[in-house]
Subunit: 147 residues, 4 copies
Amino acid sequence: MEKEISTINQVLKDITQVAVRFNEADPLGIVWHGHYIRYFEDGRESFGKKYGLSYLDCYAHGLAIPVVSVQCDYKKALRYGDTVTVETTFLPRRAAKVFFQYRILNSKGEVVATGSSMQVFVEVKSFQLQLTNPAFFEDWKVKWKLE
Amino acid sequence: MEKEISTINQVLKDITQVAVRFNEADPLGIVWHGHYIRYFEDGRESFGKKYGLSYLDCYAHGLAIPVVSVQCDYKKALRYGDTVTVETTFLPRRAAKVFFQYRILNSKGEVVATGSSMQVFVEVKSFQLQLTNPAFFEDWKVKWKLE
Amino acid sequence: MEKEISTINQVLKDITQVAVRFNEADPLGIVWHGHYIRYFEDGRESFGKKYGLSYLDCYAHGLAIPVVSVQCDYKKALRYGDTVTVETTFLPRRAAKVFFQYRILNSKGEVVATGSSMQVFVEVKSFQLQLTNPAFFEDWKVKWKLE
Amino acid sequence: MEKEISTINQVLKDITQVAVRFNEADPLGIVWHGHYIRYFEDGRESFGKKYGLSYLDCYAHGLAIPVVSVQCDYKKALRYGDTVTVETTFLPRRAAKVFFQYRILNSKGEVVATGSSMQVFVEVKSFQLQLTNPAFFEDWKVKWKLE
């Protein structure tokens, strides 16, 4: 999904937990694969709150960060009763993009899925794509020593 | 939910069909009860398109019609593979409210659930509750001979 | 929804918190009314874990407890960024039914919705409705001094 | 996601339509990206019904076909009121896998997203992964001249 080689090694990581809801498991007793996209979002939310890069932080600068691509590989089944651990890692990019990698683990600590997402910046009012990094995002990367 | 006795007998009814998605059935193989609220909304949507009372019709008059109460009684289980029939009936009220009754039927024509919802009118800009019927809604009721 | 007068005053209550997800708010910026049914389920889950009456506890006795009716009254809008508090109260019934009342509060502590749900016991294998209280449920009520 | 070069040119395609529900659009007025995974499933369902490769067809042979990877690229925003067209194309693989490509189009016929999914065969009873193509799937491919 992302071939650009980064020379920046620093990464930021968040770990959060989500309970599997009864209604998220399907007739096979396993969590429907589409729900993992929501677990990724829960991971991003938790990351955003921890490091100050939430949707609301972006809105405060007149920007939204829609997802432009997402990908998930499923290794094992999740079941109702499991507690999901979502590991969300921010990987800096030179381009005006926000790239996250995810690992989903079950209650036993086994990796059940991995994935990634790419987001871009758009102005909320005009939906205009931002081709360069917004100033607040540059500042944010400096603050966290990502550049 | 609604005790007010109506002297108006005229009702409007819509019938639409919704396929049960695999991911809407739970580990017991039956459709999770929360999804019926969505079937009700599908019924309202279909009703709104047929009779000109959709969310977009209301927006055109600067109004939203949020749901202020909903209720559902479940009689039988729905399963993946079933096609749901939603019967949506508009029951006129004197007050500035939109009241619908619903019947959900399975592929065999058996009633699997009944329910109802109440909506009110609020101005989109101010979220101000409208205490009297909006003019466009009065006109709509006259058009369909509901008053 | 429930007219039966209870002479039993004892109640059990659980309080839990749920974060409003970005994708749970609609184009008006408010949480779609159907999601509250899921908050109720989150409340029941939390209650079940606290007091030993979860879905998995019931399964261990060969029983499922499907919802046979649900009802919700909406008082105020919830928004993305709000943290929802769900108060779940078990109200004992003589009949073989599980009755819960719910109060949903926003971050300011204001009640945004109230509701209730009724569940029955069915045998998992046969889907046979249980007309009398299962022994484990009677024991559970005795344990928590609800009878 | 899939590097294996296929020497088989024949493909099967299905086109179906899905209405965007009001509750699928977020506070920005656009459809939440996670819902596209559901549109893909709607596409597979429609494909399965048309060509005889539905979940229920697989169950009849004691098999389930869980998704092991999914990927989506978003090009344009979808909005409430749009009707989504899902184009689902089956691309044959030598391995015991089911590979689909998707194109999502809006009401104007513009491509709003593309994606793909990979499924494998597992025995329903044992969850055992099938390393070779099940006989019924070989027959199915022969029937549709995919081999």
